[in-house]
Each structure stands twice: as C-alpha cells, then as structure tokens.
C-alpha cells in the first residue's frame, strides 16, 4: 500500500452559485433576456432559466489519498454527473496513484465511450481530472501551473464578460464582451437593437478598448452574416459562438464571410482534442475557447492547446476561474484570460465561483498575479456541499 494511493472519490452537488454560472436569482443579468438556441420559441425567450439552463447545478469531486491529502475539482453536472463519478469513474481511481493522470484520463474516456464523448460525461471526467491535479499539487506542495511548464509571463490580463463593458474599462480590463440580447426570432427590430447596443457601448469606451459579442449558439448563418456586416463599422474584436457547436459548416462560412474584419471564435461547448480538431482543421474558428471544467479537464486542455498551437490559434479558456488561470499563465498561445462578471449588475469584480471557493483570487485593475499556494490554491466552502444518496435520490448534508 502506497501512502499516495487514492482511497476515496466523493462527488457533491451544490445549491446556488459555484460551478454552474446560471444557478442565480432572477435579478441577475446572466439569466435574463439573452439570445439562446431556445429564443425562437416565445415561451422560452424572456429568461434563460425558463427552459432550465440552470437545471443541473454544480458538481464537486473530491479525491483523498491514503496519507490524507485531499484535492478537489469543479464542473457542472449535478446528480447525474455525481452518479457517473461515484458509480463508474471511481473504480478507475481507487488504489491508483494521482500522478498517473495520463492513464487514468484515458481509461475514463475509453470506458465511457459508449455513453460519453461530449457533454455531461466529459463534465464529470473534467472534474475528476482537476481533482487529480489539485491533489498532485498538494502532494508536491506546488501550484498546478508549476507542474505543467511554469509561467510564461508574470501576471494575467483579463477581458470582462457582462453587460457593462464601459464599467469594465474603468476597472482596468482590456476589453468587454456583451451578451447578445436578441436572436433571429426577434427579426429586424431585434437586429437593429443588437447593433444599437454595440454602437452605444463603442461610443462610451472609445476606439481602443476591445468590444465583443457573445452569441451563445443562438444564430443561424443568414442572421450572423447580417449582424457581422452591421457591426463591422463599430470594430468588434471578435464575434463568439454564433451557432450550435455541431454546425461546423456555418462557422466555416462565417469565417470566410467576415474575411478578417473581426475574429470568429467558439468552443465553450466543445469537448476533447477530437472535437477541437474538427474545428481547427476546417478553420471554423480563428481561435478557440474550451472550458477546462467541461472539455475534459486540464490533461485534455493541454492537448487541445498543443493542437491549436500548430494552427497558430489562441486558446482563451471560457470562464472557470483558477482552473483556467493556472493554464493561461503557462501558454504563449493563451495571451489573456476571460473574467465572467458574476456581480448581478456587472458593476463590481466578485469571485467567479462565489460562494463555493475560499481564497478565490480576482483581478485587480484587470490584472492578477497567481499565488504559489499548492494545487489550484483554493479551498471548498464545505457548508454548501450536498451528497446524493442513490437509494432514495434524497440529498444529505456533506
């Protein structure tokens, strides 16, 4: 028996906040009217919670070694993901050493091929993988970034995602990404309102501040090309996730259409090196935005990043706080990071995964120096954790 062997794998779910950005009260900008793939259905147009964007909730996975070292990882996935972790993935982990990340990832992926590949199962694998890296950092008393190549710059720079790029500018961010409010179902009027919002914001922030639009899979190709054409005089830095992730051919057409006037990005809802290979190979995006808590974890993000590097493409991870920061600081093709403005009015910098993490760092004046705390450098707010008891499906306090 090795002191570092894994003896326990525990999955938890969480109520509001945490890894599921959309588990917020109705007053929060992130759940109000924002264009989505459901916007074409009137009953689901006004709020994103109306169709269950927040239905799964946070997943926390905790790994414990024989010597008593405990690390954890975070994703979205709630009870079904917790089941996958505890009832299936755990058997590939118990009795193993946490530094066998390569083998453990591969076994989890292969063993779930028949019901996984993308989505929920990859969320579960991501949380386990991040927990392995956190455990490993605590064992070695090193921050995760020190174990994956070390920093290539001394601090992180951020752009802010939220409805107030003008406020983000005054807080020191390098850019602001607006959520697109109206989709194709809102017609010409909605299109004009989308363009007007962008124009108004451009007027406020001046010429040099980056402005972007996040379209969250809500558009079709005809609408996206019209939107891009109309926006171009207000110089968007990029236009993000215009189409559902399977519409690779629409992305390809949009890249060709805008012809470098703005960048086309996507990838938040894509997973694994194979998914990103399809995007990169078909030049469906100028740069990619994997979410490290969804795409397969840090082990997979490093592979995705190596692949993107050979295409000269940036990797700007979607959200995900410290799990993204430890990656971004180590990659030359990840020159800046996203900060999701999780304040209800996007008027203050608050921790992205609040209230789940303790010691979660936030940018100051749009910048952040990462501490040398072991692992990902954060602790769990354990009062929020709930376990699922499978016999009854009932929740219990951790």
């Amino acid at each position: 028996m090795h002191p570092d062997e894994i003896v326990a794998v525990r999955a938890y779910i969480v109520g509001e906040g945490g890894g599921d950005y959309h588990a917020q009260g109705q007053h929060h900008w992130i759940v109000q009217e924002i264009a989505t793939p459901m916007s074409q259905y009137p009953p689901y147009q006004k709020t994103r919670t109306s169709w269950g964007i927040n239905v799964l909730g946070t997943l926390v996975v905790e790994i414990e070694t024989r010597s008593g070292v405990v690390g954890f990882g975070v994703s979205t996935g709630g009870p079904p993901a917790a089941w996958i972790v505890e009832q299936h993935l755990s058997r590939f982990l118990i009795g193993q050493r946490p530094w066998d990340v390569e083998k453990l990832w591969d076994q989890m992926f292969r063993a779930t091929l028949f019901y996984g590949r993308k989505g929920l199962v990859m969320n579960a694998i991501s949380a386990v993988d991040l927990a392995l890296w956190d455990t490993l950092g605590r064992l070695r008393q090193e921050p995760v970034y020190a174990m994956i190549g070390g920093p290539v710059r001394d601090r992180l720079r951020f752009y802010a995602t939220g409805p107030r790029p003008d406020l983000a500018q005054s807080m020191g961010f390098i850019g602001g990404k607006l959520p697109l409010r109206y989709g194709p179902a809102s017609g010409d009027e909605g299109l004009r309102a989308n363009v007007e919002e962008f124009r108004r914001m451009r007027e406020r922030v001046g010429d040099d501040f980056w402005l972007m639009y996040d379209c969250w899979m809500a558009l079709d190709l005809p609408y996206a090309t019209r939107l891009a054409d109309a926006l171009s005089e207000y110089r968007p830095r990029w236009i993000e996730e215009c189409f559902p992730p399977d519409d690779i051919w629409a992305y390809q057409s949009l890249v060709n259409h805008v012809n470098g006037q703005m960048l086309v990005s996507t990838g938040e809802h894509e997973a694994t090196r194979w998914g990103f290979r399809l995007l990169l190979e078909s030049h469906a995006a100028d740069f990619i935005q994997p979410d490290v808590t969804w795409c397969g974890g840090l082990t997979e993000l490093l592979k995705i990043s190596a692949l993107a590097d050979t295409y000269g493409a940036w990797v700007i991870p979607h959200g995900s706080s410290v799990y993204s920061y430890h990656f971004v600081i180590t990659r030359t093709n990840s020159p800046f990071a996203e900060f999701l403005m999780m304040h209800p009015e996007a008027s203050e910098v608050v921790p992205m995964f609040s209230p789940l993490l303790i010691n979660e760092p936030v940018p100051v004046n749009g910048e952040l120096r990462l501490p040398e705390t072991p692992g990902f450098g954060v602790e769990l707010n354990r009062t929020l954790l709930r376990r699922v008891r499978w016999e009854s499906g009932a929740l219990e306090n951790a």
Binding site: Q87, L120, D247
Partner: protein, 378 residues
C-alpha cells in the same frame, strides 16, 4: 388536443438478476483491451447502468413508453429537465418537442447520455401517437416497405451458427492490435471456422467494438476478404472520423459499417462525409429515437447508403422503423441469454422473436410494448 400530464422514468426491475452474458464475460476486443487489468471481460469496466423505462402520460388516458440505457445518470435529465418542457404540451408536436429537448440540453448534451434521454422520450411520444390513432407506429412512419424483415444473428457460438434460417452471422471479434500478428491469426481462425460451419451461401460480418486502428483494419480486411466477409463493423473509436476517411480510400469488397456510438443527424453527417462508411448503424435508444433515426435514413438514402440499426431486432422502436424504411433492408438480432440455462422471464413484452429467420413489429397500436413490473419493484 391531447395534453401531456406527466413524465416518469424508472429503472427496469428484473425478477432475477440477469445471468452474466457471453457479451460481457468473454474475451472480446474493445477500447479497454490495451490495459491488461481490463482485457478479459467487458463487464470489468462497463458502467453499472440499469435500463430506463420512460412513461409519458396524457389527459386522454393514453400513456406512451420508451426505453434507453443510463440508469440514475439519465433519469434526472428526464425527470428534472425534459419533464418541464413536455408537461402541458401536445404529444403530437413531436418535431418541436424533440428540437426543444435538444436545444435545451446543448450545454451538456449533443452526444451520449442527454441524447439517450431524448431517445426514450421520443419513443414514448410515438407510442402515444400510435395509440391515439389506433395504429402500429410503423403505419405512421410510412407504412410497410417489406412483408418480412430478414434477420442476421450476432453470436460466436457454433450451435447458433447452425441455424440456417438466419441469413448471416456476425462475430464479436476477440483480438485487436494489442494481440499482435498472433491475434490476427486468432481472428482469422474464428472466421474460417464459421465459414466452414455455415457454408458459402450465408453472410459473415465482424463486430470490432471500437478496438482497432486503421492499419490493423486494413491488415484484417486483407486476411478475411477471401473468406467472403460482408462488412467490418465499428473498427475505430467514434471520434476517429479521419480514420474512417482513410478506410474509405482502400479498395475492397468488404464494407465498413459503424454508428452504434454516434448520435444525432449531425454526428451521422460527419460519418457520411468521410466517404468511408457504407452501412450506418444508429441505435434507436441512443441516437435520438425514432424521429432522429428517420432523418438519418433520409440522409443515408440521398447518399445511397444502407441503415442497419444496432440491435434493431431487439427493440420495438427499431422494428417499427425498419419495417417502414426502404433503405433498411434487414435487422440484427442477438440472443441475450445463456442457451444452456434457458431464457429468463422477460419483463418487457411485445417485442416479437424472429421466426424462421424473419421478424416483424407488433401490430398492436403504438409500439406494442409493455413493462410487466416484477414483484418487489414499486
């Protein structure tokens, strides 16, 4: 208008725990074969899922049923998420309801479990439609395209091979690249034994369960082509589209089949566009249900490809779909129990067995399928 009043999902309870099947307990090449500790049995690594029975009830007193795989990992998707999109809706609006389930699950779906969940609900909606119209589902899907559905049998058991009513035999291939050249010889020996046993007139197919790579597949094709193998099935993992493209460049009469672990029309578009796959094998309980399989059949037809649903002869939805589609010429059937121990009581009724090598869906209204809850369940 009929309205959906509730959506329930439960794990199917069997009166006895099902006896271990040869499919789980013998050496069959698979993606985990490269790890010695998981080499011998697929049951050593597969998820301990229950089958899920989904019931969609309506205010007209009609309830529809569907089946998928995924146990406690799939039930919350149906009961916590899809139920809210379905209750109060007209079950006849199946196109809209499918689309809404797909769009609403995009952030965590697209492939795998979320699409399993959609599949079961979709089957249940078609079941309601059939019952409401008092017609078997295949008559709502375009009617009969063939009087009888011919069946091939998937089995490595020489006693099964002798039943010549089945027009073909599919072998679960034991060895893959990890077993080297000796493994190729072992595979060829099995195929040769089968050919000798069944004679020249019946088909042989090879199921490779994602275990091979491109070069190994080419070596195997060369070795078995003289034995008259009709197709090689799922030689590569589902994400290796480029590998299927490579296989398509190799000139051989042995067809490449795959698709059991692919999901939705978009996944099948990727496969079709490789040009390397000529037989598509969606599983109705995993791919997105009857609605999505019908779209895949339409796409395949435009490319001149055949669709042979995975385990279609074991599925009520599969049989209705097969009956109704021109480019689905026959069905797969597998004996899922140990022949020596006899057939256990089935709690799912209404899925006919093949007779004299042919099978047909039930002619009862809907899918014709029911779940006889065992003692101790509920």
């Amino acid at each position: 208008m009929i309205k959906i009043t509730s959506v329930d999902a439960e794990i199917i309870q069997h009166p006895d725990s099902p006896p271990p099947s040869w499919l789980g307990e013998s050496v069959i090449a698979n993606p985990m074969s490269i790890y010695p500790e998981y080499y011998a049995r697929r049951s050593s690594w597969t998820a301990p899922f229950g089958e899920v029975w989904v019931t969609v009830s309506t205010d007209a007193g009609i309830a529809g049923s569907g089946i998928t795989v995924g146990g406690d990992a799939v039930i919350p998707i149906i009961s916590r998420h899809f139920a809210r999109l379905l209750v109060g809706q007209d079950p006849f609006d199946i196109e809209k309801l499918w689309d809404q389930m797909f769009r609403a699950s995009l952030p965590y779906g697209r492939r795998g479990l979320a699409i399993h969940a959609i599949s079961a609900v979709d089957m249940a909606l078609w079941d309601i439609l059939g019952k409401a119209e008092n017609l078997p589902v295949y008559k709502l899907l375009g009617g009969s395209t063939k009087a009888q559905i011919p069946v091939y049998q998937t089995t490595n058991d020489p006693t099964d091979w002798a039943d010549s009513a089945f027009f073909g035999v599919k072998l679960a291939i034991p060895y893959g690249p990890i077993d080297g050249t000796e493994g190729i010889q072992g595979n060829v020996a099995l195929i040769k034994a089968c050919r000798e046993a069944i004679g020249p007139k019946r088909d042989i197919m090879l199921d490779c369960y994602m275990a091979w790579d491109v070069n190994y597949t080419l070596r195997m094709i060369d070795a078995v082509e003289p034995l008259g193998v009709r197709w090689v099935e799922e030689p590569l993992p589902p994400d290796d589209y480029h590998g299927y493209e490579q296989l398509g460049k190799y000139s051989t009469p042995v067809a490449i089949a795959t698709g059991e672990h692919e999901h939705t029309r978009w996944g099948f578009r990727e496969l079709i566009e490789t040009g390397g796959v000529t037989i598509l094998q969606p599983d109705l309980a995993w791919v997105g249900g009857i609605s999505e399989t019908r779209k895949i059949c339409a796409m395949a037809s435009a490319y001149g490809l055949q669709v042979i649903p995975h385990a279609g002869g074991l599925s009520a939805a599969g049989l209705h779909l097969i009956k109704s589609q021109v480019n689905v010429p026959f069905a797969e059937w597998v004996r899922t129990w140990d022949r020596d121990k006899g057939r256990p009581m089935s709690v799912i009724r209404g899925i006919p067995d093949p007779e004299n090598g042919a099978i047909n869906p039930s002619d009862d209204p809907g899918l014709g399928m029911s779940y006889i809850a065992s003692k101790g369940s509920q």
